[in-house]
């Protein structure tokens, strides 16, 4: 059986590696270190770990001060609190001066599950994408999470937002995958429709592509794990070669991956068709993760059905 991993677990482990390599890395959490998995870093590097308590805004501003004084801070909380609650702090103190702070938003999306709308972040990518200098990363699996977590300290200078989840997903990338900022990856070739996904939805897209194949529909799958800067070149190539693009994200279709792709398509005068799948201008609710994905049409069979309709198959 395929091994399933939550990206937040992969992140917690990768953070340990980062801590080993870079003595200037510090980690801050706001009373959620078990959930965010920064507990591993806390235990290994107690002198470089700060539990700020239930004070996310204080945490984000503190991280900014650390970054301005030579550290590379990783600030952690649930995605919605980190981005929505601290938007002003992130905007002025981190994004504006382009400080090298890594913001790791955990338990993002519908698959946060039973805690309901207050905890289900469906707008974080929109918020972070609007900020100048900010890079927005949504890893698809444990391999990509590790790669991004390390790259965020090593290869990127400036603010980074990494969106993490608590939904178990299989590894969809090869072990030798190397992450490159702003570069999407074609995971499956196809000719009639391109499923462009990020995060947990990449595995859903791969499942949908299998189902579509059984209906004689040839679907490509693209892992668009950097939402900002978006891989314009890859979207343009896809537009030129595949008549229908479907974006799939566990996030509002307003402002996230679907919007980023739509912006490129519209400005390039693309005549083809785009379908954006995600949550459609609604809040989440308490339920199990799978029930919520089902409800919002974000399962392989729901995606295949929706795409199949376009082909009358």
């Amino acid at each position: 059986m395929t091994e399933l991993t939550q990206t937040r677990y992969a992140y917690g482990k990768a953070l340990l590696e980062v801590g080993e390599i870079y003595p200037e890395v510090a980690v801050l959490d706001a009373d959620l270190y078990n959930s965010t998995r920064t507990v591993l870093f806390r235990d290994a590097f107690p002198d470089r770990f700060i539990d700020i308590g239930i004070a996310e805004a204080d945490m984000v501003s503190t991280a900014a001060g650390m970054a301005a004084s030579g550290l590379i801070p990783y600030a952690n909380s649930f995605a919605i609190f980190l981005t929505a609650h601290c938007y002003d702090q992130i905007r002025i103190q981190i994004a504006y001066p382009s400080l090298h702070v890594i913001l790791a938003g955990s338990s993002a999306g519908l698959t946060q599950g039973p805690d309901g709308a207050s905890h289900q972040s469906l707008e974080d990518v929109t918020l972070m994408r609007a900020l100048p200098h900010m890079r927005v990363l949504v890893p698809a699996d444990s391999i990509e999470t590790r790669a991004m977590t390390i790259a965020a300290a090593r290869d990127i200078d400036g603010p980074v937002y990494i969106r993490l989840g608590r939904y178990p997903v299989p590894d969809v990338l090869d072990g030798d995958y190397s992450f490159e900022l702003g570069r999407g990856t074609i995971l499956r070739q196809g000719e009639e429709v391109a499923l462009v996904a990020c995060g947990h939805m990449v595995n859903v897209a791969l499942g949908a592509a299998e189902l579509l194949a059984s209906r004689q529909i040839s679907a490509a799958v693209i892992n668009m794990s950097t939402i900002k800067p978006i891989d314009k070149e890859l979207i343009e190539w896809t537009m030129g070669n595949i008549p229908l693009i479907v974006t799939i994200e566990e996030h509002s279709i307003i402002g996230g991956l679907g919007s980023a792709v739509a912006e490129v398509m519209a400005e390039d005068g693309f005549g083809g068709r785009l379908i954006r799948l995600g949550t459609c201008d609604v809040f989440g609710e308490s339920a199990m993760a799978d029930e919520l994905l089902e409800k919002h049409g974000l399962t392989p069979s729901a995606v295949a059905k929706r795409v199949g309709k376009e082909f009358g198959r």
Binding site: E24, A26, D47, R48, I50, I52, G53, A55, A57, D58, M59, V60, S61, T62, A63, A64, G65, M66, A67, A68, S69, G70, L71, P73, D88, Q89, I92, Q93, Y96, P97, S98
Partner: protein, 282 residues
């Protein structure tokens, strides 16, 4: 630069005020009131207390100053220009198109500005981050943070206050510029502000109250704070909004206001007269 002589510091504070008035100029809205109330404190920090090399504003072991009440950054620009970190002739470019002297501190644009503020309530957390970075990196610099009294109404200040004491940041000193006026009127019209010193003590800080325009008291309090290894230090500086320009002193309508040509002339003449008095007294 370290100036020990109190009279020399008093003179520098008046010079700083002159630079602030000149850079603001006539008929443009500026935050005169708070920049004036903070002038003596800012002077004492840059010219008396802080270990700071104007030749190398990025020196990793420098003491750091965060203007949490970011709208009063003209006072900091003036100090940096007097030290030679910025050219004095650049000051009148304040808030004009293309100038790096933004209306609120932009750390990435101006050498000597340590952090971006302007949205009130965030600077003390930032100062905590700098103080924690000193500990993590085994550096022994001190961090100073100037907060407005109206700014204390922002909840994040109190989040930060609890962090500072929990982390025992004895390398941190905060100063409250208690000028008794926010943008509209006195802070107590909107929220209870007292007992202020007791609140900070209750939050785990060592607290002193001073006259924020009495240079000897400011210097003594800063010395006390540097020597205090018990807890983060809070200096509540009682000040007068607009201090040094008699016709705006204590008046909320000059929080962010434009002065006429005549008013600017009057303000400059008054400050030059004060400067003359100190020079004679020397």
């Amino acid at each position: 630069m370290v100036v020990r002589d109190v009279n020399a510091l008093r003179k520098l504070a008046i010079e700083l005020r002159l630079h602030v008035v000149r850079m603001m100029g006539a008929n443009k809205k500026h935050h005169f009131g708070g920049s004036m109330s903070a002038a003596d404190i800012v002077t004492a920090l840059y010219f008396y207390k802080m270990r700071y090399d104007p030749e190398d504003p990025e020196w990793p072991d420098r003491d750091r100053f965060i203007m949490s009440k970011g709208h009063c950054v003209p006072a900091q620009y003036a100090a940096l220009a007097m030290l030679g970190v910025l050219p004095l002739e650049e000051l009148p470019e304040l808030k004009t198109m293309g100038s790096r002297l933004q209306g609120h501190p932009a750390a990435h644009l101006v050498p000597g500005i340590e952090g971006c503020t302007g949205s009130l309530g965030q600077g003390l957390s930032f100062a905590n981050g700098m103080a924690l970075a000193a500990r993590i990196q085994h550096r022994d610099y001190d961090v100073y943070c100037l907060i407005g009294d109206g700014e204390l109404q922002e909840g994040q200040i109190w989040e930060a206050a609890m962090t500072s004491s929990k982390q025992r940041l004895e390398n941190l000193t905060a100063v409250i510029d208690r000028n008794g006026l926010k943008a509209m009127d006195e802070p107590s019209s909107a929220k209870t502000m007292d007992p202020l010193a007791d609140r900070w003590r209750a939050f785990g800080w060592s607290v002193r109250e001073i006259d924020g325009h009495e240079m000897a008291e400011i210097c003594e309090a800063l010395d006390w704070a540097e020597g205090n290894e018990e807890a983060p230090s809070m200096i509540i500086a009682h000040t007068i909004k607009g201090k040094g320009i008699p016709f705006i002193e204590g008046r909320a309508e000059f929080h962010n206001a434009a002065l006429t040509e005549e008013q600017i002339e009057e303000a400059l003449a008054g400050l030059e007269e004060q400067l003359g008095i100190w020079e004679e007294g020397k």
